[in-house]
């Protein structure tokens, strides 16, 4: 029985998923052992609610929307992997924590050099801004795969260990989160 894998991204740059694609020809070997059910970079999506063995989350939790995505992934997967520096530590997104949320919004929507008559969007359907924080601050994380982005070798190692039913441990050059 093939294992199933789903991934999603929160407040990130998609770089971790690009690094996943950097597995190149090793992707072919990967899909022999695991079914990709739903990811932001594949067209074919099976609803994650069906449940998967491995869930990857890229990016930090920074508003009510990303928090919902993180909680949904946690519910759906057996093993949750915090994928990349933003998911593991909070990453570059946490730079925003250094200023109050109102200042950050004003800078982004009103004071931007190219903005004329800007206004801060307000709508009840819009996500509510929160301090940026790692996935582990919101839901329980089983495996940490740090790196900005994680090297494809590190991704391959973690996925291979999980597919084989072992707990991955990053050592040597595979552990690199600068």
């Amino acid at each position: 029985m093939k294992k199933t894998l789903a991934s999603d991204w929160l407040a990130g740059c998609s770089g971790c998923h690009m690094s996943l694609l950097d597995l190149d020809e090793r992707l072919l070997a990967l899909v022999e052992h695991v079914d990709l059910t739903a990811t932001p970079i594949t067209d074919l999506k099976r609803p994650a609610e069906a449940g998967v063995d491995i869930g990857l989350l890229e990016g930090a939790v920074n508003n009510s929307s990303t928090e919902t995505v993180a909680r949904r992934m946690r519910r759906c997967c057996k093993t949750l992997v915090a994928f990349g520096d933003c998911a593991v530590f909070g990453g570059i997104v946490t730079l925003r924590n250094r200023v109050p949320a109102a200042d950050a919004l004003r800078r982004a929507y009103i004071e931007t050099e190219t903005t004329v008559d800007g206004r801060i969007p307000r709508d009840e359907e819009l996500a509510v801004i929160q301090p940026a924080r790692p996935v582990g601050d919101v839901v329980a994380v089983d495996v940490c795969l740090p790196g900005c982005p994680p090297a494809s070798d590190a991704i391959e190692h973690v996925l291979a260990e999980l597919i084989a039913g072992r707990t991955p441990s990053l050592k040597g050059t595979l552990l690199d989160w600068h």
Binding site: V88, F89, G90, I92, L95, N97, P134, P146
Partner: protein, 630 residues
């Protein structure tokens, strides 16, 4: 610590076991030092070999038989029969926990830190340890929303408290190496913060920007504005050379990458022991100066770039017809360049009108010369007519270090000096000027009963074991005579101004007024700092940068900067310091002596540089062997 080791060096060795391996240590050594000497690696973080142990980070914890709990190897002294283990599960778990606790305190977001890097290239000791200990996440994430202050009030480096791990290396460096005591720790426990003075912004504090804290900081908390985000220091090219900022001649380690000078560290192995001043560490890197890249000639009132041949021909022609030519050289010139300059005047122009642009060399024959090490371990320091803290800063810091260890300070000066508030005895120059002077002066001073000063000075020196006298220029012969008459144990250090003024003095070059039709100035990378050149009908300059000096020039040859020069200079101790080229010079910019030999050739009066030195191995003879540019 040094004295401690000297005292016990004859004591029998201490036998102990580390990780089952028999190790021989010396009494007074720490377990860490004994382990390092035996090639056993114990990880450390707050410890730095140049600093007194602190034992604050708990990364070097070890298990010692019959000791309760784990002990820090950096601070625990060796003892006979001690059984130490640094490799047990308990030790490794404790070390990992200590690292996790450090990560829990403040948000160490490596991705936007300038020292962060992969396992092979990181400049961060915390990150390196985390990699070594397989830390792939924070067990206790720090409060992501808590803001941490950034102090950017200093010109050359910034303090970001969010990256500080409170190892106190900066505090210890400021106290034990720079002897400046600016840094301390405010509050206690989790509220602890590194602070300057009584919590002043660093730029408004007593900080002298010597940058020693920057050099020892294990993380990215102290940010070098020049070097940050321009690559890792560990992967840069490191070159040991000498600072040309003043006559102290500190050893430096320059970090370069792609012919860019990124940062300057103090050389731990040099006599300055890693210590530098703001001039040597930061001002030497200050960019924004406008480089002279081609020869230039003044035409219709403006300097215009011309080719080498055209410039050499024009200058040679002007020199041939001149009624009188005077030459002034910067004291930042290497001895080799000064030799060539003197030779050029003596042999090519048949002129003795050569001197220095600035500089000050007091007489060097007052007694035995002190070394920098003598200053740091002196028990009595006398400063006569000079201000090392202003003009030879590292020497001033070394003197303050000696004062911290209990040395007494006598300041003999008519002007205020930077060390006045540390002086145990403050005297005026005329109060020490009588002894050994002319009968007339003796009578005059005796008549005015001015005997108190010299007798107080003598008694201070007599009661000291290692007295050092630092003396400036412009002192009267009567003061010189009084200093010569001090006891034999006294060591003397001249407060020479101008990096190679001593080397120039050896060649007979000193500052002098010149009034000649044509003025030739060897400027190099020297800066006017408000001084004007003497007036002349025609001024020829060899300079690296466009300055107010070169604005006055009628002919301008490009020159190399200190970082591009090869050669030597004499420092205050009379020690020959070597200038090693750190950077490749821009194309077509020759050493100063080459430009002079080319000019002599253009005048059809080539000269031999080797002739003035009778020793073929002497650096003075080196230019002879070098190939001439085509």
């Amino acid at each position: 610590m040094t004295t401690n080791q000297e005292i016990v060096s004859t004591a029998p060795p201490v036998n102990l076991t580390i990780n089952g391996q028999p190790v021989q240590g010396r009494p007074g050594q720490t377990v860490l030092e004994a382990a390092a000497a035996a090639g056993i690696h114990i990880p450390t973080l707050c410890h730095h070999p140049a600093l007194p142990p602190e034992g604050s980070c708990r990364v070097c914890l070890i298990e010692i038989e019959r000791q309760r709990g784990l002990q820090p190897a950096c601070a625990f002294p060796v003892a006979q029969g001690m059984n130490v283990r640094s490799d047990t599960e308990k030790v490794i778990a404790a070390r990992r926990f200590a690292l996790q606790m450090i990560f829990s305190e403040r948000p160490h977001y490596c991705m936007f830190c300038q020292v962060s890097g992969g396992p092979a290239e990181t400049d961060c000791e915390l990150q390196r340890l985390a990699y070594e200990h397989g830390i792939d996440c924070w067990d206790y994430p720090p409060d992501a929303a808590k803001p941490w202050p950034v102090d950017a009030s200093r010109r050359y480096f910034v303090m970001d408290h969010s990256r500080c791990i409170l190892c106190r290396r900066c505090v210890r460096a400021c106290a034990a190496i720079a002897a400046n005591h600016t840094l301390g720790v405010l509050h206690r426990g989790t509220r602890s913060m590194i602070c300057a003075d009584d919590d002043a912004p660093l730029g408004e504090s007593s900080c002298v920007s010597c940058g020693t804290c920057l050099q020892v900081c294990p993380t990215g908390a102290l940010i070098d504005r020049t070097a940050a985000y321009r690559g890792h220091a560990v992967t840069g090219r490191r070159t040991r050379a000498s600072c040309l900022g003043c006559a102290v001649g500190c050893g430096i380690e320059a970090v370069t990458r792609g012919n860019q000078l990124l940062r300057i560290d103090g050389d731990w192995t040099a006599p300055n022991g890693g210590l530098l001043c703001v001039t040597g560490r930061f001002e030497a890197l200050d960019s924004g100066r406008h480089r002279v890249t081609t020869p230039m000639l003044r035409r219709n009132g403006a300097l215009e770039p011309v080719g080498w041949d055209e410039a050499l021909t024009a200058v040679a022609g002007r020199l041939r017809t001149a009624a009188g030519v005077g030459g002034l050289a910067s004291p930042r010139m290497t001895t080799e360049a000064l030799v060539a300059f003197t030779c050029f005047f003596n042999e090519v122009l048949n002129s003795d009108e050569v001197g220095l642009l600035r500089g000050e060399v007091p007489p060097l024959d007052l007694g035995a010369t002190a070394t920098l090490a003598d200053v740091a371990r002196a028990d009595c320091i006398v400063i006569v007519g000079g201000d090392p803290l202003e003009n030879q800063k590292v020497l001033g810091y070394l003197a303050k270090r000696a004062l911290d260890r209990g040395a007494r300070l006598v300041v003999v000066s008519d002007a205020a000096t930077g060390l006045d508030d540390r002086a145990h005895l403050r005297l005026r120059l005329d109060s020490v000027a009588h002894a050994g002077a002319t009968p007339f002066e003796l009578l005059r001073y005796s008549y005015h009963l001015r005997l108190d000063g010299i007798s107080q000075l003598r008694s201070q020196i007599q009661t000291a074991a290692r007295p050092v006298v630092m003396y400036g220029g412009g002192l009267s012969t009567a003061v010189h005579a009084a200093l010569r008459a001090l006891p034999d144990k006294t060591r003397f250090l001249p407060l020479i101004e101008g990096a190679n003024a001593a080397g120039a003095a050896r060649l007979g070059l000193a500052p002098r007024p010149l009034r000649q039709e044509v003025l030739y100035v060897l400027i190099g990378d020297d800066l006017p700092n408000g001084h004007a050149l003497p007036a002349a009908d025609f001024t020829i300059a060899q300079a690296a940068y466009h300055t107010s000096w070169t604005e006055k020039a009628d002919a301008l040859f490009p020159a190399r900067t200190w970082a591009e020069k090869e050669g030597s200079f004499l420092n205050i101790e009379g020690r020959e310091c070597t200038l090693v080229p750190i950077l490749e010079p821009p194309h077509h910019i020759e050493p100063d002596w080459v430009t002079l030999t080319r000019l002599a050739a253009a005048m059809d009066r080539p000269f031999m540089l080797g002739a003035i030195s009778d020793n073929a191995d002497s650096p003075l003879a080196r230019p002879k062997e070098a190939t001439r540019p085509s």
